[in-house]
């Protein structure tokens, strides 16, 4: 995702840590031993995913725009996304991400390839690399996402 401004805010980091079930106080309590030893609050390893909140193209309902989830009916409109599933996610951390950082993200496309699968039919994979820079232009996190578009829904095994 390309994002012009992604401020790493304390409340957002706390909510994100709660959502992944991580009670480590380094993510919400500035007086904790962890935060003191880190020189302040930091963000969990996967936090850059929350940059979607600051992405103009993020998957969310918008005022005045039909949303493809249910309302009165089982779907409110055309599916606004590609229907891709997340196949792989890789992060490289150049330094810890800190509350107070203000990030900019730039997106590069990588490879695409396809293969056949018993569960999902033809699978088309694509690689998307996002670089997150701080205000000083220093690279903080590199995220590499591999998405897959399946021919049919993938249902549980057995």
């Amino acid at each position: 995702m390309a994002i012009e401004r992604f401020p790493v805010e304390a409340g957002h980091v706390m909510l994100f840590a709660r959502a992944v079930g991580d009670p480590n106080p380094v993510y919400f309590d500035p007086s904790s031993d962890g935060a003191r030893s880190m020189g302040g609050l930091i963000a969990p390893p996967t936090f850059t995913m929350a940059g979607q909140q600051f992405d103009g193209d993020g998957v969310r309902p918008r005022p005045g725009v039909a949303w493809f989830g249910s309302g009165r009916d089982s779907s409110g409109g055309e599916r606004a996304t590609t229907g891709a599933l997340h196949a792989e996610q890789h992060f490289k951390y150049h330094r810890p991400l800190r509350v107070g950082d203000v990030l900019t993200a730039t997106l590069r496309d990588g490879d695409t390839w396809s293969k056949e699968s018993n569960r999902g039919g033809k699978l088309v994979f694509s690689e998307h690399i996002t670089d997150y820079f701080d205000e000083g232009g220093e690279l903080v996190v590199t995220a590499r996402m591999i998405r897959v578009i399946t021919e049919r829904p993938v249902t549980p095994e057995g």
Binding site: V20, G21, M38, P44, G51, Q52, F54, S75, G83, L85
Partner: protein, 140 residues
């Protein structure tokens, strides 16, 4: 809090329960915090009737985030340098997830000691849901 290279050896592992009877509400919490509001994660009616899945299911990144807790709890805050996973099976409401990380190598990178790990999270049927690798800086 960080681990010392001298206290670790290849084959050491740690296991942690990272989600117990995963609730739809926790999946909604993740949608709200991450900003990924795709209704296949929270809207049962849409997901069953339109998308064709048996139920809503968790974001892969919820599972990766829960798995990351094991890495940072074990290896220390701000120590992880690389973390990558494949999403092998979907995670459904009611699933219980257990993560295991194993030291695969201990090496030096210049003056810095590093650990390379494999990591896997399985559901209550012992099926892997995410599987991958991580690296972290150690104290000498």
């Amino acid at each position: 809090m960080a681990l010392r290279a001298s206290e670790l050896k290849v084959g050491d592992s740690k296991t942690m329960l990272v989600a117990d009877n995963l609730s739809r509400t926790q999946i909604v919490m993740y949608a709200g915090a991450s900003g990924d509001y795709n209704p296949i994660h929270s809207d049962e009616r849409y997901t069953v009737e339109v998308a064709g899945y048996p139920s809503v299911f968790a974001h892969g990144m919820l599972t990766m985030g829960a798995t990351g807790r094991l890495l940072t709890d074990w290896l220390g805050d701000g120590r992880v340098t690389d973390f990558g996973v494949r999403f092998v099976n979907q995670v459904w409401p009611g699933d219980t997830l257990t993560s295991t990380a194993t030291i695969e190598a201990i090496r030096s990178e210049g003056d810095v000691m590093m650990a390379d790990l494999s990591i896997v999270t399985v559901n209550q049927k012992d099926q892997p849901v995410v599987s991958g690798t991580a690296s972290a800086r150690l104290d000498p």
